[in-house]
Structures are given as C-alpha cells and as structure tokens.
C-alpha cells in the first residue's frame, strides 16, 4: 500500500510589500499530525510538491497546547489555532492563509499588537496598592469565580476579531476580546474602581456600539468564552454610564 500523504496549500508572502503566492506541499501522513507538525516537517525539507526548493514557513507558535494564543491562522477558510487543527479532521488539500484583518509580517505571521494596545486603553488590570504583603484578597464566592474564570481564559488569539464583520479600519471597533476583559475587571471587587473609565473608553467611536450582533465571535472562540453575553452586559453598562454622564453634565 502506498503511504498516505497530506496535501497542503500555503499562502506565502515574503514581506508586506511582496506579492502573495500559493505553494503546494505533499508530506507523508503520520498519525496524530497537526498543522504545526506539518509545517515543522516542511522546515526540515523545504521543497514544494513540484520539487522546487523554497524556504521554511514563517508563522507564530509557542505552546502548541492552545493556551498561548500564538498560532491563529485561517485553515480551510476558518480562523483557528494551527496546533489544535488535526490533519485527520481537515479536508484536503488543507489551505492555510494568514489572518486577514491584521498587518501582514511574512507568510502566516501577522501583527496583532492592536489587542494589547486596546487592553491598555481599557485599563484591563486590578490596581493593587503594591506588591508588599497586605494580607489576603477580597472574599469571592465560588459562584462569582465560576462566572469570571471563563472570561479570564481569553488567550488573545484574536480569532473573534478576525471573523467580526465590524472589526475593520472604518469602524475602529475594539472587538469582542477587549469587551469581555472590561466585563471581567468591572466584576472584580477591586478592579471595579476603574469601571467608569473603562465604560467611557468603550462609549465612543470604535466602542461597544459598533457591534453588529453577527455572533461570529462566540462561534469561533477556541475557549468558548461567552463573548456575546459579555458584549450585551457591557453595552448595557455603557448606556447607563452615558446617561449618568449626561445628567451630571
């Protein structure tokens, strides 16, 4: 029996200004293969399916356990993590492209620093007095922990932003991930001291009002974070904040 093979088509682009080309690869199939191991295999033998020498593929990756959020890309048209994309569950040829909503660096690598900038804008932290010993933290009941923990699982992969029709240069929308973090920190007994600042940061252009309720975010999230609930809750709080600010003059 001829060995099973894996067919890949990968969109290559040497730099942001270079033209994009598709390269085809054919690899020997091995059980348990994922998209990352296929690309590691290409690095050891960078030759295309038609025998042309090429270069190893540039892509972001780190933990390979779907917890660091690095290896998001479009695989067969769907934004997802390459590490948890098992070859045997994918239709072949497997078509791999970079995320399309972020500045391209090279091949499958894009610049997603906008998310970290957004997190700074909404003060996504708990303002502790200092790191010296001040005794235990506030009491938190298990029910509250169980509500907040899923929000805290966001791996910053930006898949939710990639699939959002509203996430584009015209709207400047911050995207679901940041809004969910606003909910998380506004829920925290100490973090809520910045609640009004965070809500105001999401009140104007590019804020929570840009959401068009397409619900793509919640479907694509690899961590099943209740993103649409978070958007609804924060949206309500932003409206209340706007009214308060209006009345205060």
């Amino acid at each position: 029996m001829a060995p099973k093979t894996v067919q890949l088509e990968i969109k290559r682009q040497a730099s942001p200004d270079a033209p994009a080309v598709w390269e085809k690869f054919e690899l020997e199939w091995r059980p348990g293969m994922n998209v990352i191991s296929a690309m590691m295999e290409i690095a050891t033998n960078p030759v295309t399916a038609d025998g042309q020498a090429t270069t190893p593929i540039t892509y972001d990756s780190n933990c390979l356990e779907e917890i660091c959020g690095s290896c998001a890309m479009r695989i067969n048209g769907k934004a997802r993590m390459a590490c948890s994309s098992l070859v045997e569950n994918l239709e072949q040829p497997i078509r791999i492209e970079p995320l399309s909503k972020f500045p391209l660096v090279r091949d499958l690598q894009v610049d997603r620093s906008v998310l970290f900038e957004n997190l700074m804008r909404v003060k996504a932290w708990v303002p502790v007095d200092g790191t010296y010993d001040l005794g235990s933290g506030p009491r938190v009941f298990p029910q509250e922990q169980e509500a907040n923990y899923p929000l805290s699982n966001c791996i910053s992969c930006t898949c939710c932003m990639e699939v959002c029709p509203q996430f584009n240069e015209d709207t400047g929308f911050v995207g679901a991930a940041t809004i969910a973090q606003v909910k998380l920190f506004n829920n925290h007994p100490t973090g809520k001291v910045f609640k009004e600042d965070r809500l105001r940061a999401l009140a104007g252009d590019g804020g929570v009002q840009e959401c068009g309720f397409a619900q793509n975010c919640v479907e694509v999230c690899p961590k099943q974070i209740p993103l649409t609930n978070a958007i609804s809750d924060v949206s309500r709080d932003v409206t209340i904040q706007k009214v308060k600010d209006f009345l205060r003059g």
Partner: protein, 592 residues
Amino acid sequence: MAAPKIIVVGGGLAGLAAVIKIAEAGGTVDLFSIVPVKRSHSVCAQGGINAAKNLKGEGDTTDKHFDDTIYGGDFLANQTPVKAMCEAAPGIIDLLDRMGVPFNRTPEGLLDFRRFGGTLYNRTAFAGATTGQQLLYALDEQVRRHESTGHVNKYEGWEFLSAVLDSKGVARGITALNLRTMELRSFAADAIIIATGGIGAIFGKSTNSVVCTGSAQSAIFQQGAYYANGEFIQVHPTAIPGEDKLRLMSESARGEGGRVWVPRTVGDKRPFKQIPESDRFYFLEEWYPKYGNLVPRDIATRAIHKVVYEHHLGIDGQPMVYLDLTHIDRATLNRKLEGILEIYEKFVGDDPRDVPMKIFPGMHYTMGGLWVDFNQMTNIPGIFAAGECEYQYHGANRLGANSLVSCIFGGFRSGPNAMAYARSLPAAEGDGGHAAELARQAEINNNLMTNDGTENPFKLWRELGETMSKHATVVRYNKGLKQADEKIVELQERFKQVNLSDKSQWANTSFAFARQLGNMLELSRVVVGGALLRDESRGAHYKPDFPERNDEQFLKTTKASYTGSADGPRFEYEAVDIQFIKPRPRRYDATK
C-alpha cells in the same frame, strides 16, 4: 543620580515579577521577549501553586513545605533560599489573589487548596487547571499598568543574543536581534536579569514551548557564567505523546483522585471497561501505599518505565499507561480540571471523563540552570537570573506546583537586588564594551548567513533531540552518555556546515533558529557531561549501575564552566548548604 536602568530578558512569571518590583521601586525596565509576554511558556503551567496557608485545618506549616521540598529534591538544593521561598509563599498567594487571579474557592469564599505530589497536605492553590495562565495574565496586567506610566518599555519580538561586558567583565547591557527586521542592536543597562525559562528544546520533543531552547542561558554560560546541576532534568510522568510535542497532563489529575494503572496480565487486549478491578494493576498505589499516585515525579516516571519496559505491561504493548478519571463525577471534573481535559479531548479525540487517558513520561522541567548566589546574581557581576533558567530551588527533583512559586519568588528577589546593585555601580569606562560585542555578534550572524554548506539546522536539531531523549532522560548509563557526547560533538562539527535555505533579512525564522541551535548544542554537553560524572542516583538523575545516593562524594552542586575547547565544559563541585535539615534517606514507600 538617575534611576537605575535594568534589562529583563524573558516575560514569563519570573521576568514579569522582577519587572513589577523594579517599576514599583522607581526604576525603569527594558523588557525583552521573543514572543509577546502574554504568550510566554508560564501560560502552560496547569495544576497550581504551593503555599502552606493551612486553610484545611491539617496543621500544615511553611516548615513542612520546606521539608517536603528539600526531601523531594533529594537534599541537593541549598537550604537557605528554599526556606525563604517557602516562608514567602503564603504572602505571594495573597498578592496574586489581590491581583485578581480567579483561584477556585471554598463555599465560604476562601481559597481552595488541593493535593499535589510529594506531600500529604492540601497545599496547592489553583485556578481550574490553567493556573499558570491565570498567574501569567495577572502579572502581565500589572506590567501593562506600569507600561502605561512609562516605567516599562517592552521589546517584544526581540531575541537576546549576548551580554555586553566591559573590560573588567562587568555587565553593561545586552545585544539583541529584532526577529522581524533582523536588526542587531545593543542596549545599555546597569544590571540585567535573565528569566528565560527551561531548555526543553534540546530534547527535541518535550512539554516545553517552542521558545524554551536555553539559548540565552547558553550564551551567558559561554561568556563565563557557571551553569549548575545541568544533569538534573525532570521527566514528567504523565504527558500525551504527540507528533510536534509532548503535551503535559497535569499532576492535578492525580491530585483530584486520578489513578494510574495497566492491565495485570501481559497482552490483555480487553477494552478498559471489561477489565475488572481485580485485573487492574494500580502499581503506584501498590508500591507506594502512603503517597500512592502522588509520589514525586521522578519516582512515578521510573515506575511507569519499569511497568512498561521490565514488566511489559504497556497498553496494547505500547509505551503507554492509563491515567483514569472516569470514577469521578463530571461536574467535579469540569469545575476543577476542565482546561486539561479539553486539551486531551482536542488533541487525542477521546473524552477523559468517559475513557481513561493514555499517557507516558515526557521531558518537562530543568532543575539545573545558571548558577546564582543567594541574591540571584550569577558569577558575572550585574547579571542576575530568576525562574526556571537558574538552579536554586528544586535540587535533584522539583515538586509539582513549586515552580510557579519559585519563579515569582525568584523574580521578586532579583528585581530589588538588581536595583541595589545598580545603584552602587560605578560608571563604565569608555563605551562599556558595546562596540566590541556588537562586532562579535555581527560576525557570527554574517558567517551563519553566508555559509554555503549542506546541513539543514532543523534536521540537526531532530538528531540532537533523539540522542538527548535516549541517553539523558529517565535512565542513564555511562556508555550511552559517552555516545551522546560524541554525537553532540559530531553535530557541532556539522553545524559549521549549516546552509540556511532562507537567506533573507526579514522575519527569517530559520536564521533565528540556527543561532539558538548553536547554543543548544553547547548546553547539551553540559547536561550530558554532568550526568556522566555523577556516578550515583539522586532525584531525577538515575543510573542503574550506581543505584544509591552517595552523599559523601556527590552531595554537591555541579558547576560547569565554558572552556571553548573540544574537550567540552570544565566541571567542579561546591558544597550544598544543609544547615537546617540533615540529609536522610529518601524513601516514598515508607513514612519519611
């Protein structure tokens, strides 16, 4: 006088902890990281963080934590810093709690604790089974806060290449490579803190992340730093074998009641459900009745090896054993372990709530590392180290859930110590060595880029990993270690013939990898050489030809130094600080 300028290399728990302390003390920090710091390897830690808070009415104390850690590490760790860490741990948990880490809670709203290996107490605080992720995020958020006030400048996407040393051998900064533009630059600092994690990549496949190559430690080692206890490598008993890596299956699975077993009879092909209790061999529980499935990792790993390779009881004849959670109700599993169960489900395809997991040991943690003094400073003045990249807290074997506390504690110490050092540092003469170091690095880069040999660096790496995993992990023989060293020397020769298929000056990952590989090869010789010379068995270092611990000869820290010669590193030994707990035999099959 201007506030000291500190460079921190690495943005995992240790690096971020150091950054926070420096920013809080009014210093400014340049923080270098290959990946955005929120994607650092600390994110992979699963089970929890140890602190003797004694919230379960068991009479736990920091002294017991200290004793468990020293005993678990087979008495190789210096006791003064370990004692200080265990005493600081409860305060660290409180701080993380205040920072908003969503730790699991008791019904009364207090921190919940679970059991982990190598202790009989519920001492491990946890946030589901993604504790490292939650801790890293908490520190990342605090660092972002300090970034917003201008105390921290992040250089994400820059890789550390070397320290800049002045004519007196004092650190004056670093050189680094921009992984996007490929720009080589030097950065000035009054002190630097290395916090670059473990060295899993030299074993090819491990539970470590892609960036855990040990390249930075190796570069510093080649510049004159001691590397201590390199031969002590932790192989985690429960990993999921994979094509690209070995995925960790947390010890917390056993902490919550998971049981390890194999069918009692060789060749028993029945599906697990048809195998009655009487035909199941719960070998850890039988061999270690007191600790059961929660013996320390080195013990559990060797037991699994024994069952598979000596008793030939691996499942379906394969090197795998069952880790079984199916007797625990789904709601409890979801509340306490969901993160790791999802990993298994996604990567293997079976639901571990219904089907026992199939696991096997995998390289996991680097106990050894850069030698540091009790102030976290290496022997190179001005270079500090914290976290997994240094050697100080775990001796010959690390206990589960002690890594997170050691990273944060080490980071918290190194930051203020680096500040104090920097405040009394006299100004550099001339340019402090920057031009010379830049020139040295430029030459290395140029040679690599223009080399027209025939070797592919990724293939060399694969061979290195196979050799290291075969000869320098669970069971070690001097003959095999010698073979491994010869193989590394061969790979070093072939490395000189590396030809990069990518010679571009933009986001060239092959180039960055080849530089790491050169450093990995140097560090591999430290691991293998240290193991070869240590003719005893202690903690994770096990030689069947020398099965006993030999305190008279080897209750000593191994210190390797770089020679630059083909003979490899030079090794010397240093006495261990044992002033608090007298070494005693380490036997988990009996009460300690």
